[in-house]
């Protein structure tokens, strides 16, 4: 066995720097302990005080999120949040990033991201019922991007499909900004009854502490530190883990069975920083202490040191505290599933984390120092200069455009094109409760033996946040909620995954801080508290940072599943309307739009976003929801990337119907804004046959406008007339082929 460096060597050779600790932090640790930390202790501190575990850059700002609500059963701070959906039922959900591992080993990196988020949810006592993922990659003309993208998707599919949880939604954006720093954010939703709620508390002096699940190996040591390192390619390569969804499936069943016995005191998944963070956090929440003997931890490899065992990030493991004398129940249940459950220590009341190897004390650290006293930084934020150089957005790009050609090209832009190439690799139907599969605004999942269903969506637009951090943050929340109301569901709560560049740059930190304020305001206004989330910084390579990319995962509730509305236009139903803020169906130019990026790539980041108003957004969403609940809607579809024309095309393609739209606008030269502008807060609706009168009655009670657009047709023609002149005339089948085939044509 290699000799571990001594306390003095660590200090004299500044070895702690390699662990990711600064001189300052190391000095603080020495002062706090009143002595020099040994090798294991230095390792434990370094992961607990890493950005990934301590949230040292973000903690202060995350407090501004609204987290309260009458339906919130568990807010941020646990493995996942929980909301009440009535009838003694609750849903638990959370989103998490696995960006850095994916950049190095896309298949396993993405797969283990899914595995981690599933564990977060079932530790709460919930049975996972749905997965979503939000992805960002470079552009598909790069072979490296195609490699990362295809392997990440395959890894996500591998894990979710094998474990038997349907992957029902997500989003994918391709932009050169993400070429070196792809983003993989995975979200999991679980279902439970109120009495099944479990938490990560290590309480009750003398209670046994168990490691359950997979054996511990040397994989992923220092993964947490690595997640915070600036150059993922330079970091320790051993930090990549391999996922075993089969093991996780067994672990899931065993844990739920164990929690159902009522003998579990606390349970927590071992994610980043493995045994170290799970034990410290569980003790911290309960205000207790722990003593753990690492020689009892079942290991996959021989000769593992306490340091390695404490820092291993081997997957598919949990830490469980049982009631005193009840550990045999855990052993029995786990044995049935072919798994190990091993007592490795006890709960104490001395507030310290004591790690022994047999009799020898390997580390002894105050839990408060590891968790509560972790550094909280007040990073400087400076408004980036580019924000003040943005111009007022143009309303027109071409003097004599071929708008039909533009639409066909736009629907074939990979970011806008159908993501079928992705989600047909996911088992979207297992559990036989998926009522709306991927391809619509939000997925809808039925609640077994109930009239209820939940709707869910993951959304974010980094370019918007880049162009206007505060407004962009609010718009991400608004879009997620709009996707939910388009199904007829009422938005309930939010999980977030905040992906940013290097927080040490004041301009990046400004983006972070401002966008949090924007998201907070929107969550407040829309009544959707944040119940869980995750932060990923240092998405930066060679000085280039990603767009600030907060992703919002939202869950909403449909009381009557049969009332659900889909985005496909339907034959034999009524007219199509544009639901928009009063007097503002069209406004503010092409800033931030996919159309601008396609036509004038060099100017894509030169213009301001269209204005956004939260009150107007709320009015539009309330109107949509009221119409859905009144049974007036045959279809509803949110207008987002690509604007009105793309949204109309999508609803036609999904319903296999034609369309004849005729609109009068003034002034005449705002055609492109009307067709392709990305003004927020707009929803396309198709009214049910014979319900137009009801629509008008209801509409007048909301402060919104209903602009009649036209009617669905039995033909293959997609026809838009503006001011009595044909603006777009395409075959629906041509739009469909362009939209559906685009990503596949890059990938084959």
């Amino acid at each position: 066995m290699r000799r571990e460096p001594t306390e003095q060597e660590i200090r004299d050779q500044r070895m702690y720097v390699k662990f990711g600790l600064t001189d300052d932090e190391y000095a603080r640790i020495c002062t706090r302990l009143g002595r020099l930390p040994n090798y294991t202790e230095t390792g434990v501190f370094s992961v607990m005080w890493s950005e990934h575990c301590s949230y040292k850059s973000s903690r202060k700002h995350l407090r501004r999120f609204p987290t309260q609500g009458t339906h919130v059963l568990q807010g941020p701070g646990e493995n996942a949040g929980i909301i009440d959906i009535g009838d003694n039922l609750a849903v638990s959900f959370k989103m998490e990033s696995h960006n850095h591992p994916t950049a190095v080993e896309p298949y396993q990196g993405a797969a283990t991201g899914v595995g981690g988020i599933i564990r977060d949810v079932f530790t709460m006592g919930a049975r996972p019922i749905a997965l979503l993922n939000s992805l960002r990659f470079g552009t598909l003309d790069q072979a490296r991007t195609r490699y990362l993208f295809s392997h990440a998707v395959e890894g996500i599919a591998f894990y979710g499909n094998c474990i038997g949880i349907p992957t029902v939604g997500g989003e994918v954006v391709f932009d050169a900004r993400y070429a070196e720093n792809p983003l993989v954010n995975a979200m999991c939703i679980g279902l439970m009854t109120h009495d099944q709620i479990a938490t990560g508390h290590a309480s009750g002096v003398g209670n046994p502490v168990l490691v359950v699940g997979a054996k511990t190996g040397r994989d992923g040591i220092h993964g947490a530190t690595f997640a915070s390192a600036q150059d993922p390619n330079e970091k320790e390569r051993s930090a990549v883990q391999v996922g075993d969804p089969f093991m996780e499936k067994l672990l899931l069943e065993a844990c739920l069975e164990l929690i159902a016995t009522g003998r579990v005191v606390g349970i927590q998944d071992m994610g980043a920083a493995g045994l170290t963070s799970s034990s410290a956090e569980m003790a911290s929440r309960a205000g207790s202490g722990l003593t753990l003997d690492v020689s009892r931890v079942p290991c996959r490899e021989t000769g593992m040191s306490p340091y390695e065992i404490m820092l291993s990030e081997s997957q598919e493991r949990m830490l469980v505290v049982m009631k005193e004398g009840e550990s045999a129940i855990a052993e029995e249940i786990f044995a049935k599933w072919g798994l190990e459950a091993t007592v490795i220590g006890r709960v104490t009341d001395d507030g310290s984390l004591r790690i022994t190897e047999g009799e020898r004390v390997a580390a002894e650290l105050p839990i408060a120092a590891l968790v509560d006293e972790a550094p909280v930084l007040d990073r400087p934020a400076v408004r980036p200069a580019y924000l003040d150089q943005l111009n007022v957005a143009p309303v027109r790009l071409s003097t004599q455009g071929d708008l039909t050609g533009d639409l066909l090209a736009l629907v074939a832009e990979p970011t806008i094109a159908s993501k079928e190439w992705v989600y047909r690799q996911y088992d979207t139907m297992v559990r036989t409760e998926t009522l709306v599969r991927p391809g619509a605004d939000a997925a809808v999942i039925g609640i077994p033996d109930s009239q209820k269903a939940i709707a869910t969506s993951a959304d974010g637009n980094g370019k918007y946040v880049y162009l206007n951090p505060r407004q962009g943050g609010a718009m991400a929340v608004a879009e997620a909620a709009r996707n939910i109301v388009c199904t007829g569901a009422r938005p309930l709560a939010v999980t977030d995954c905040l992906n940013y560049g290097n927080p040490e740059k004041p301009e990046i930190f400004y983006q972070f801080r401002e966008s949090i304020d924007g998201m907070s305001e929107a969550c407040e206004k829309l009544g959707t508290p944040v119940i869980s989330g995750n932060v990923s910084f240092y998405n930066e390579t060679g000085g280039q940072d990603i767009y600030p990319t907060p992703i919002i995962g939202m869950v909403g509730l449909l009381e009557q599943a049969e009332r659900l509305v889909t985005s496909a236009f339907k034959r034999g139903e009524g007219a199509v309307y544009l639901l928009a803020p009063k007097g503002q169906a069209i406004r503010d130019g092409l800033g931030g739009s996919a159309y601008l990026a396609m036509k004038r790539p060099d100017e894509a980041l030169s213009y301001q976003l269209p204005a956004f108003d939260l009150d107007a957004e709320k009015a539009v969403q309330d109107a949509c929801l009221a119409l859905a609940e009144a049974g007036v809607l045959a279809a509803a579809h949110d207008i987002s990337d690509g604007g009105l024309a793309v949204a109309l095309a999508e609803s036609c393609v999904q319903g296999s119907v034609g369309l004849a739209v005729a609109v009068t606008i003034a002034p005449d030269d705002e055609q492109e804004v009307l067709l392709f502008g990305e003004s927020p807060s707009r929803i396309l609706v198709q009214v049910r046959a014979g319900q137009e009168k009801r629509l008008k009655e209801l509409a007048s009670s909301f402060l919104v406008s209903f602009l009649p657009l036209g009617a669905v047709a039995e033909t293959d023609r997609f026809h838009i007339t503006l001011n009595e002149k044909t603006a777009i005339d395409a075959e629906v089948s041509a739009l469909r082929d362009a939209w559906r085939g685009a990503i596949a044509s890059w990938m084959n």
Partner: protein, 85 residues
């Protein structure tokens, strides 16, 4: 000259091999109880043309490094055989 490279790709020692563990269990339950370990990897036969053996070797290494394996979690070894028509 025509060559066939026989390439064996395995997971690095320290990397978890879930397939291998599952197969060990299955072999035990089939009463092959003397089996202590199984590692499962990929086997590839690549037929190609190169001017001489040295170039051939270098090419196979490059194929492995660039495409056929991921050095983050896998290692490989290969043998080379000349094929005469």
């Amino acid at each position: 000259m025509n060559f066939i490279a026989s390439i064996r790709v395995t997971l690095k020692e320290s990397v978890l091999d879930p397939q291998g563990s599952a197969v060990v269990h299955a072999l035990h339950s089939l009463s092959f109880t003397s089996v202590s370990d199984v590692r499962i990897g990929k086997y590839m036969e690549v037929s190609f043309h190169a001017d001489d053996e040295q170039t051939a070797r270098a090419q196979v290494s490059r194929m492995c490094d660039q495409l056929l394996t991921n050095p983050v979690i896998e290692t490989y070894s290969f043998t080379l055989a000349e094929v005469r028509e």
